[in-house]
Amino acid sequence: MKIRPLIYCLFFLLLTVILSIVIGAVFIPLADVWRVFTGQPPQSVSAAATIILTLRLPRTALVLLTGAALGGSGAAYQGLFRNPLADPYLIGVASGAGLGAVLAMNIQWPYSFWGLMAVPAAAFIGALLTVFLVYALARIGKTVPTTNLILAGVAFSSFATAVTSFLMLQSTGELRRAISWLLGGSSQAGWGPVLTILPYLAIGLGILLLSGHALNLLQFGDDQAQQLGLPITRTRTLILLAASLATAAAVSFSGIIGFIGLIVPHVMRLWFGADYRRLIPLSLIGGAAALLLSDVLARVIIAPQELPVGIVTALFGAPFFLWVLRRAKNQGYW
């Protein structure tokens, strides 16, 4: 495996991590960051230390993980369905999560730790239930045809979105919070969210990182993949569940963030080729970097207020993607 693309992407990721720590409501010079991390904070940087350790670092970690989950699962979904339009939300993960979140918001939870956790937990459960339901609906005997899966996902998505809208119109109070969550950007402080989603992401993304060879085979279609020795139904189920697990975990705390899962894999494919053994790790790193950059922009565009990061990814992601697409002269990169 060629190592150079990986180094480029890791370098870019490091850059965005530094930006994400330095930039915000309070600008923290790199020298102070260095002092905080090297241990002996003099009195002058104790405020910086607090901001970095309790706000910036946890947030950076959450955004990084979310971006990695969206980029990695986006690449996996595109490979799984052999469809350039596939994204992490294709089979209804997003609308299922949205429904779960709005349901939880409709119940007036007390303002406590568990009250705050109720929304992401409900979103996660909604996303996972959707995946299993859609999968069960699409199944015919022992096989799960791709077309069925997408159709069932789209149909269930519309249904869940309708129910979500209905609930939001009925509800009295928390509408603003729900809308802000749906746009992507329920920024919660502390390490709680990071630690909560870490196990799911570790399992989901871990499996995806090992699935490159299988995804390569699936690009040739079900018949050929099987004739080359791949047990396709078992493999596809495993990859689908891993990608959905990662997406659900990402959605639960960060809301629904569009374009990262769609665009990052395409850009990586255009720049570095279609081999999924390379594409999955690159999309993971690229997704993390892209979302971190968007999050930094979300903090500065209308500072001191913050934009929901979902707006930033769409605002900048879409034109950037069109630019990359126009520049790519080689036809049929997909």
């Binding site: 040739f220 018949d223 004739q227 080729g273 997909w334």
Partner: protein, 257 residues
């Protein structure tokens, strides 16, 4: 080598293969001919285990291929599909290496031995200089040779080809058939090839099996099967069969007025 016994396949209520039995021996080319929709592709797909069968078995050395895992099956039997809708961004080399999948772990790590086998496969089909090219840039004939090399990289005793000549011009049809025949006669592979072109079948196959409406109507040497009576009836078209000018095979001509 390959023993297909009473294989029946249905798509919904429609019976597509009706108790098909075929014996394929090592070192021979068996051509499967028949009109459109007769079930040639279905037979290839069923024998390679990608569609469910209602009845019958596909035996190799006493094993039932259809009861094996996909991976173990892929060590017995390799399939060369039609070169349509290949993922264009893979190189020929990457494509051929995927033929080693039945011998690799889930990660698909290849050894130098796997690379050596893939190299030999590309050389055998005269496509080694295509290795670094992307599949999407190759011509139909070149793509077909790459797919043949991928099947050879599977190192199987049995090779099934599903109308590989359909999109090729005359020169590439002949070139491919020469390779296929040499694989059977020189490397002792058992080769089943679905063919549209009756004269290509007559020229290159050791035996011919005629499939009509899901049933084997005739099987034997080209001379035994390609007779005016049998072919006219199968294709609903009067035909003439004349001797080839120099080879000892029949030539089929449609009798159009």
């Amino acid at each position: 080598m390959l023993k297909i016994e009473n294989l029946s396949v249905s798509y919904g209520a429609r019976r597509v293969l009706q108790s098909v039995s075929l014996d394929l021996h090592a070192g021979e080319v068996l051509a499967l001919i028949g009109p459109n929709g007769a079930g040639k592709s279905t037979l290839v797909r069923a024998a390679s285990g990608v569609i469910p069968v209602q009845a019958g078995r596909v035996g190799v050395n006493g094993d039932d291929l259809l009861a094996l895992s996909a991976m173990r099956r892929a060590r017995y039997l390799a399939v060369v599909p039609q070169a349509t809708s290949l993922p264009p961004a893979f190189t020929a080399w990457e494509t051929v290496l995927l033929g080693r999948t039945p011998y690799l772990n889930f990660l698909g790590q290849v050894s130098t031995k796997d690379e050596e086998i893939a190299r030999q496969a590309l050389q055998k089909v005269d496509a080694f200089d295509l290795a670094e090219r992307r599949v999407g840039e190759l011509s139909g004939g070149e793509q077909q040779r790459v797919l043949l090399a991928r099947a050879l990289a599977q190192s199987t005793p049995i090779l099934l080809l599903d109308e590989p000549t359909v999109h090729l011009d005359l020169q590439h049809q002949v070139a491919l058939m020469e390779i296929v025949r040499s694989l059977a006669h020189n490397d002792n592979l058992a080769v089943l090839i679905a063919l549209h072109d009756l004269n290509l079948a007559a020229r290159y196959a050791d035996r011919v099996a005629l499939l009509v409406a899901g049933e084997i109507k005739a099987a034997g040497t080209p001379r035994q099967v390609l007779t005016p009576e049998i072919i006219s009836k199968a294709y609903h078209l009067p035909v003439q069969v004349i001797p080839h000018p120099y080879a000892d095979v029949p030539l089929v001509l449609p009798d159009s007025r």
